[in-house]
Every structure is written in C-alpha cells, then in structure tokens.
C-alpha cells in the first residue's frame, strides 16, 4: 500500500508526458531543429519552478512526509563523463525520439515498437556497467 502513491504520481507523469506531446518523435525533431518554442517552454517552466521550489526548501529547511530533512547531494565533479555521456544520450534521444520516461509512456499509449527501444536501452545500460572502468569519468 505504501507504494500506491508512487503509482499515482507515475500515472500523473505518464499523462503529462503524453498530453504535452513530449513523447512524440515529431516534437523532439522540432526541438532539435529550433522550429518551435513548445519543448523549450515545457522544460523551461519546469526548470524555473524547480529552481524556485528547491531554493524555498533549502531556505526553510523543509522536511519530507516522514519528517526527515530534505537534502540535495551535489553530483561528483567531472567534465568528461557528463559531456561524453550526454552526447551519446543526445544521439539516441534524437534518433528514437524518446528519453527513458517517454519510452514507457509510449508503450502504455499503444506503440508496441517502444518495447524494443526500452529493451535495448536496458542493454545499453548493462554494457555501460560492463566497460565503465575503461571509460574516462
């Protein structure tokens, strides 16, 4: 029962991804071609509200529902891993038109082909784990 709230928030996430058309390959192409504001507007609003909200949480030292302080952990400093990893991710994002969230939303929406995309994304994650010691981080 304690997991029910995650199912509901997940469903809200799936609905907003689908209703905003962020799950559409066409919308991702339009974004990478700078031909509409739509995707930039979605990400921009989420980021600006996120920055304000996180600042408020830190300022007021807010706690989560279990009473634990909400902490934000700085990510490890590096350029190579974020840049190279990011570029590889971006290549795949433009090709398949989906980052990991929209992949599964598309499956729910009825596009069965995305099970193939999701399966190979999992394979990609596995191969990264296999060779990560050989990659610059």
């Amino acid at each position: 029962m304690k997991f029910l709230k995650y199912l509901i928030v997940g469903a809200l996430f799936g609905i907003v991804m689908a209703k905003s058309e962020a799950i559409s390959w066409y919308r991702i192409q339009e974004m990478f071609r700078f031909q509409a504001f739509h995707m930039y507007g979605i990400i921009g609003v989420a980021v600006v509200l996120g920055i304000i909200g996180v600042a408020i949480i830190k300022k007021l030292k807010l706690k989560d529902v279990e009473g634990n302080p909400i902490l934000f952990f700085p990510k490890s400093k590096s350029i190579a891993r974020y840049l190279f990893g990011g570029i590889i991710f971006g290549l795949g994002w433009a090709l398949s038109g989906a980052c990991p969230g929209p992949m599964v939303v598309n499956i729910g929406y009825g596009f069965a082909s995305f099970t193939v995309v999701l399966f190979f994304a999992t394979v990609g994650t596995y191969v990264y784990g296999l060779i990560r010691d050989k990659l610059p981080h």
């Binding site: 199912l7 809200l12 799936g14 991804m17 996120g50 784990g129």
Partner: protein
C-alpha cells in the same frame, strides 16, 4: 474544462505539472530520476553477480519501478480516456517541410509510422534504428549519471554544474544526429 483536458496541453501547464511530479517525489523523500530504473532492471536480471556496478540493494528502488508502472498506466489512460481520437501532432510547418525532405509524411498521429509501425519494425533498417537509438539512450544516460529527468529537470533545479554540462551534451548529440546523421540515414 473537458475540452482543455482532451486537447493537447499547452507548454506552460505541462511544465507546471512536471515540476509538481518532481516536488511530490521530493516530499516523499525520493528524487526524480527515471533512467535509474534501467540499472535496477539489470540488477534484478542478475547482472550484479558478474558486474559490480549492478551489485546494489535494488529493493530500495522498488518505488521507482512502481513509478515506471504508473507512467505506463498514464500513457494508457491518456490514449483511452483523455484525448480526442486520432489527433495529429501540430508541429511547425518548417519541421513538416524538413522531415518531408527526409521521406517522412506529415503527422497523422503522435508518432511517425515510418519508424514506429510494426511493418517498419520488421525491416532490418527499422529494427536497427530503434535498437541503436535505445542502446545509445541507455548507455549515455548511465554514463552521464542521469537522463532528462535527473539532469535537465532535477539537477538544474538544484543549479548543479554537472547537470548543465550533461544537458549541453544532450543537445550536441541531438544536433549531430539531426543535422549530421539523419541526411545520411533517411532520404
């Protein structure tokens, strides 16, 4: 009101709802990072026995897998109850023109049949495009330590420089694919 829900949602409303999703997870004591689920699925599949990267207590990530199931459900609910039938994505005329030059017809639904129909999946080229696209996303997300939710939304909300570098990388990769590789791949 009903018309607002059934039509595609405007960008400002969508961005607002996405930030609500992030803050709900934060107040549940979790963080918004979708691609972590791919690592969890590897761990559940037994990858931790061979590869140390997957040897972690994945039971602590069950909440995120439930979130993933919710996302699938959300996609289903949207298509079944929350949309007008057969709505085409209203992308810009310029994008329609550019994609036409690459052999894609104008949108009739939310995804191009040239890539996501089962007929396309069962061709070698169609299969490889989806497989390689997925592989690059999964590999790159873990290499970069996060995807759009973890870096572009959560990381930048916390003003983290690594996330800004990752997002710059996302766009460099997206431009290389769109302007460099697509003309070779499609015509």
């Amino acid at each position: 009101m009903i018309d607002f829900i059934l039509n595609p949602w405007p960008w400002w409303f969508s961005g607002l709802v996405i930030s609500c999703v992030m803050f709900l997870l934060i107040f549940f004591g979790k963080s918004f990072g979708f691609s972590a689920n791919l690592r969890t699925m590897c761990a559940i599949g037994g990858a931790g026995k061979k590869v140390k990267f997957f040897d972690f207590d994945w039971k602590k990530q069950i909440w995120n897998l439930v979130f993933l199931l919710g996302a699938i459900l959300g996609g289903y609910l949207t298509n079944t109850f929350l949309t007008y039938p057969d709505q085409a994505v209203e992308i810009s005329e310029n994008t329609i023109r550019d994609l036409k030059a690459l052999g894609f017809s104008a949108p009739t639904t939310i995804q191009p049949k040239e890539l996501f129909s089962l007929e396309s999946l069962f061709t070698l080229k169609g299969f490889l495009i989806l497989a390689i696209g997925g592989f690059l996303v999964g590999f790159g997300a873990r290499y970069a330590g996060g995807c759009t939710s973890g870096h572009a939304i959560s990381g930048i909300a916390d003003l983290q420089v690594p996330s800004m570098i990752a997002v710059v990388g996302f766009f460099i990769g997206g431009f290389i694919m769109t302007f460099g590789i697509f003309p070779l791949l499609f015509s």
